[in-house]
């Protein structure tokens, strides 16, 4: 309430001032109580790619609702005019308004693509300046009281009690409120048709793993076909082109305990088995 000031005699002035203060304070309070109050429920349902489906319900007092309805009837764009620009640019989709006489409410519906931001699978809904009042699973509820000059109502001075409800998608996990980011965060796996790293590097990985499979399979076949062999006990004669005599290992002596003059079980040169009593290898002719 705006006050007036007049210079009068001190006594009269004080008396009038006190009276005026009481009257004006009373009038001020009355004016405060008359302020239109809107109960708003702003509900956002977010899908798998972060788009928001918004249903904004504003409930007015009976008389205020009647005034809005009258103006809307006369000016068809009254409720939509502040959304037109966003609607035209595609920031809002399927914008619709409805007047619900039974609850004295204005109901606004629209889709807002890109409501949540994706940061490598962690999605964020920003702009949540206050901590949630309630958080049940994937549903967060915020409450706020604000005063604002006319937005799309007829009233220049109004109180808005807003309940904001954010519903995360079914597939979301680890929902939490981040006070520093002033955001709701949640994890969202890629859609089933994508396989992240594999899908991203499909070509390279197919070639690499294909080649590896072939290489391992070839090696497996090679090893599997080799017969296991028993290592010769000693090799005394160098082969042509092999290491020099000086470098050759010393001749292996017969096994301790074997009787002298008896032939060993295998040719010392080629390793072929030898029949007992033979002094020449039947395979390579070496004298044993």
């Amino acid at each position: 309430m705006v006050r007036t000031k007049k210079k009068l005699g001190i006594g009269v002035a004080i008396s009038l001032f006190l009276l005026a203060t009481l009257l004006l304070a009373g009038a001020g309070l009355a004016r405060e109580a008359e302020k239109p109050t809107i109960n708003e429920v702003y509900k956002v349902t977010i899908n798998e790619v972060g788009d928001g489906r918004i249903v904004d319900t504003m409930k007015y007092g009976k008389d205020d609702y009647a005034a809005i309805k009258k103006v809307e009837k006369k000016n068809r764009g009254f409720l939509t005019r502040r959304f037109k620009t966003d609607d035209n640019t595609g920031e809002l989709i399927d914008f619709k308004t409805d007047l619900d006489d039974s609850s004295h409410s204005v109901v606004i519906n629209y889709d807002k693509p890109g409501f949540a931001y994706n940061n490598k699978g962690v999605f964020a809904v920003y702009g949540m300046t206050e901590k949630p009042k309630d958080n049940k699973g994937k549903t967060f509820t915020f409450e706020e009281k604000s005063t604002i000059n006319s937005e799309f109502t007829l009233f220049t001075d109004q109180v808005i009690l807003t309940k904001t409800i954010i519903e995360l998608p079914e597939a979301a996990s680890n929902p939490r409120y981040d006070a520093e980011e002033k955001a709701i965060l949640y994890d969202m796996p890629p859609a089933a048709t994508q396989l992240g790293f594999f899908n991203e590097n499909k070509c390279l990985l197919s070639v690499v793993f294909g080649l590896l499979t072939l290489a391992f399979a070839g090696a497996l076949a090679f090893v599997a076909r080799r017969k296991p062999t028993v290592a010769p006990e000693a090799v005394g004669t160098p082969v042509t082109g092999g290491p020099s005599l000086a470098a050759a290992p010393p001749p292996v002596q017969p096994e301790a305990g074997a009787p002298a003059g008896e032939t060993p079980g295998f040719c010392r040169k080629c390793g072929a088995p030898m029949a007992e009593g033979k002094t020449f290898c039947t395979k390579c002719g070496a004298h044993v």
Partner: protein, 368 residues
């Protein structure tokens, strides 16, 4: 090769063969196709504001405000995810390329809304005296793209004294507040820290406890009115189109009103608001049909007082409203007259109160 070694090798190679075979199958049959930037399908739409209120240019760099200069809607309309998407902007020669936002992944059918809140160069902005066109450039790139893609749009910077009352098209202005859709920007014209304003205010507030005493704050309000009158400040009547809203109107900064010794009702209200703020008294500017009025809140009681600031010009007051005022046209009379005007506007529901302190905190900071 011994039997044992062979067995170990066979088992090991069999395991490796099976594992790499499985991985090959996974890679070869992974959903969709391999990442191929040529198959990326993006719908990128750049949207810019038509006009920037230069006086409030700092607001456009504040990402907590809804006062972006440009925004881009990026929609992945294809089946291929987009990786490492980077976007940045440049506003003529008023900025370098912005540091740029990065989006690591944009999934098929996902939309990203990116906003441009540029830090405009103060020196260059100060030089803009008339409406000036400027080209905003947006560029983006993503993984596999050979060179960045650019898009351009033209926007206009208003002159440093220009103000547009409403951005709503005339046919969409249905309430009183619609006519003052941009009212918050008035706060940018209220410059209590500017030197001329400050030194003029000091001559008013001397010896008064304006921050603690109702009486002193009200005394300062009246002294401010009287000091502007003593300065010889005259009221200039606005042309009718001034309040029409769609075109830019010329608004003076307080220092200009003091130096030029004249101003419209809005200029005078803005000047008185700035002077009172400079000496620590909370002020407002009320916009009512076809008029603007300064107000103050007293520090102890919180009572509001308004004053008819156009009556600083005594000649105007006597000439046009002689039947409503005494020959002195005192500040007391002007407080009484303004109080009636404000009350009437409140009763009619036709008043917009601009709280500069609130809007400064909210980012609409004075530029000068």
């Amino acid at each position: 090769m011994s039997k044992q070694l062979k067995l170990v090798l066979v088992v090991l190679l069999a395991v490796l063969t099976a594992a790499s075979g499985v991985l090959f199958l996974v890679a070869a049959t992974a959903g969709g196709t391999a990442y191929d930037p040529a198959k990326v399908r993006l719908d990128v739409k750049l949207i810019t504001r038509e006009e920037i209120v230069t006086a409030a240019f700092k607001t456009y760099g504040d990402d907590t405000q809804d006062m972006w200069v440009a925004k881009t809607l990026i929609r992945n309309t294809g089946k291929m995810p987009v990786y490492d998407f980077k976007i940045s902007y440049k506003v003529g020669d008023l900025t370098d390329w912005t540091s740029g936002e990065e989006y690591p992944e944009i999934r098929p059918q996902q939309t990203v809304r990116d906003y441009c809140w540029p830090n405009l160069d103060e020196e260059r902005i100060k030089a803009i005296t008339t409406k000036t066109p400027v080209e905003l450039v947006m560029k983006y790139e993503y993984r596999g793209l050979s060179k960045p893609v650019q898009d351009f749009q033209k926007l206009f910077l208003l002159g440093r004294n220009d103000f547009v009352f409403s951005s709503l098209p005339e046919k969409d202005r249905l309430t009183f507040a619609d006519d003052f859709d941009n009212y918050r920007f008035i706060a940018a014209f209220i410059t209590p820290n500017e030197n001329t304003t400050k030194s003029f205010a000091n001559t008013i507030g001397g010896g008064l406890e304006t921050r603690a005493s109702d009486e002193d704050a009200l005394e300062a309000f009246q002294r401010c009115f009287d000091a502007l009158r003593a300065q010889g400040v005259k009221y200039i009547m606005e042309p009718e189109a001034f309040w029409a809203g769609s075109a830019a109107q010329y608004v003076q900064y307080p220092s200009e009103t003091i130096e030029r010794k004249s101003g419209t009702c809005l200029d005078l209200a803005v000047a008185m608001s700035a002077l009172m703020e400079a000496i620590g008294v909370k002020s407002y500017v009320a916009l009512i049909p076809g008029h603007a009025i300064p107000l103050v809140t007293l520090p102890e009681s919180g009572d509001l007082y308004a004053i008819e600031s156009t009556f600083i010009d005594k000649d105007y007051a006597l000439d046009k409203h002689g039947d409503a005022v005494s020959p002195e046209v005192s500040s007391d009379e002007c407080i009484s007259i303004a109080s009636d005007e404000i009350s009437q506007a409140q009763d009619d529901g036709q008043i917009v109160m601009i709280d500069p302190g609130y809007w400064w905190k909210a980012g609409v900071m004075p530029a000068w």
